[in-house]
Amino acid sequence: MSVVLVDAGGTNIGSVRYALQRLGVDAALTADAATIRAADKVILPGVGAAGPGMARLRELDLVELLRSLNQPVLGVCLGMQLLCAHSEEGNTECLGLIPVPVRRFAETPGLRVPHMGWNRLSAKQAHPLLAGLGDDEQAYFVHSYAVSVSDWTLATSDYGEAFSAVIARDNYYGMQFHPERSAAVGAKLLKNFLEL
């Protein structure tokens, strides 16, 4: 199986690559359209801000390519947000593959932003991506913007309000947390993605 990591400049690319290696998969790091199109699985990692993230995809001429893929595509953290319609972060038009907005966590007393740390995943729909996920399992989140809950939400987490932790539409999937840094839970969900 060929897995590619889209090299959009996120600093977590190395960590995602190592996580895949721990699952026995050697993922290529690439920004080459033909290589991405030919892959069995595509992962769009990302740490940083939405505006520069989209700018980088446009610079690499990957926007239309990413919109036209048929194989399973997984966006991680910012990568998931880029799959959505629009982000409040820098008022950024995103890829529009999953028609939901990305909003900043509301200012709430006692709620620190960024949302940083381990939080519980609650499955909302049965889905192969969530196979084996238990009731009290937590994943590692680091983000200030979140994807609203919608029909495409597979799992939520709570931070002041419920937000989407895992989303899916057609062949596009997103994880707001960092599976590469979420211990056994993260490895399980990454493995589920590889087996889709």
Partner: protein, 256 residues
């Protein structure tokens, strides 16, 4: 609900994990990767590595072990030690660290925090603050604490620096209360509660953990997001699974 984080701190010196008392007299505790794996297996939520002599020696953190840790560890980790520029930070983040922490170099050049936040986002930028209560009762910042001979007492008040660091782009603050460090009599709850009041990003307590109750107190009384400790974990005096079960029993949200 967000879990409170338990964070073993690994002070690194010459490629080994060391621990001192009140930041002095370092003893070798073990190999970096071995200890990292042990804590990961025990359920640590995050690890912090401080290359404690990098800043006093005027060099950046040694990246070879960062990459080794990143390959084997599947929990987040933060690296600190003499990071003075965006390029040095990028190298550490690309080697696999999730966050970088700056302390003395941010005091040398305040704009470093702004530059790091602009380059990587605030979520990657941790500001470590070493603080001690002076004779006049004010908490003030210390610089270059990795080497007692080079440690500087700054006129800057700890809480002022904390406010400024956030304004410049700190996504998390680690407050090292030096008066409590290594003596295991509990976290400095008074200072941490005062810090909490001005800290709107995640706040991590450091210095003083000795008993299970110290962790409960710092989470409940000072409302910190994470508690960092070294010697109680290195020595085995407190096992992380035992600590987390105790905390959950005390009503503190933790990851088990």
């Amino acid at each position: 609900m967000l879990s409170r984080r338990i964070i073993p701190c690994l002070d690194v010196r010459a490629g080994k994990v060391v621990k001192g008392v009140r930041f002095r007299d370092h003893v070798v505790m073990g190999e970096i990767v071995d200890l990292a794996l042990r804590y990961r297996d025990e359920g640590a939520d995050e690890l912090v590595f401080y290359d404690i002599t990098a800043s006093p020696e005027g060099r950046s953190v040694d990246r070879t072990w960062v990459e080794k840790v990143a390959r084997v560890i599947d929990i987040p980790f933060c690296v600190a030690g003499g990071i003075r520029s965006v390029d040095e930070a990028r190298a550490v983040l690309y080697a696999g660290a999730d966050k970088i922490s700056v302390n003395s170099p941010a005091l040398e050049r305040l704009g470093l925090i702004d530059e790091l936040a602009a380059a990587f986002g605030v979520q990657c930028v941790v500001v470590g603050i070493d603080s001690l209560c002076d004779a006049d009762g004010e908490w003030r910042v210390r610089q270059y604490t990795g080497d007692p001979a080079k440690t500087q007492v700054l006129p800057r008040r700890t809480l002022d620096w904390m406010a400024e660091a956030q304004q410049r782009g700190a996504g998390e603050i680690v407050l090292n209360c030096m008066g409590s460090d290594g003596v295991r009599r509990g976290y400095d709850l008074e200072q941490l509660a005062a810090a909490r009041a001005v800290c709107h990003v995640p706040l991590i307590a450091s210095g003083g953990a000795g008993e299970l109750e110290h962790f409960r107190d710092v989470f409940i009384d000072a409302d910190v997001d994470g508690a960092l400790a070294a010697s109680v974990f290195h020595s085995g005096a407190i096992a992380i699974p035992q600590l987390k079960h105790y905390l959950r029993g005390q009503g503190v949200a933790v990851r088990l």
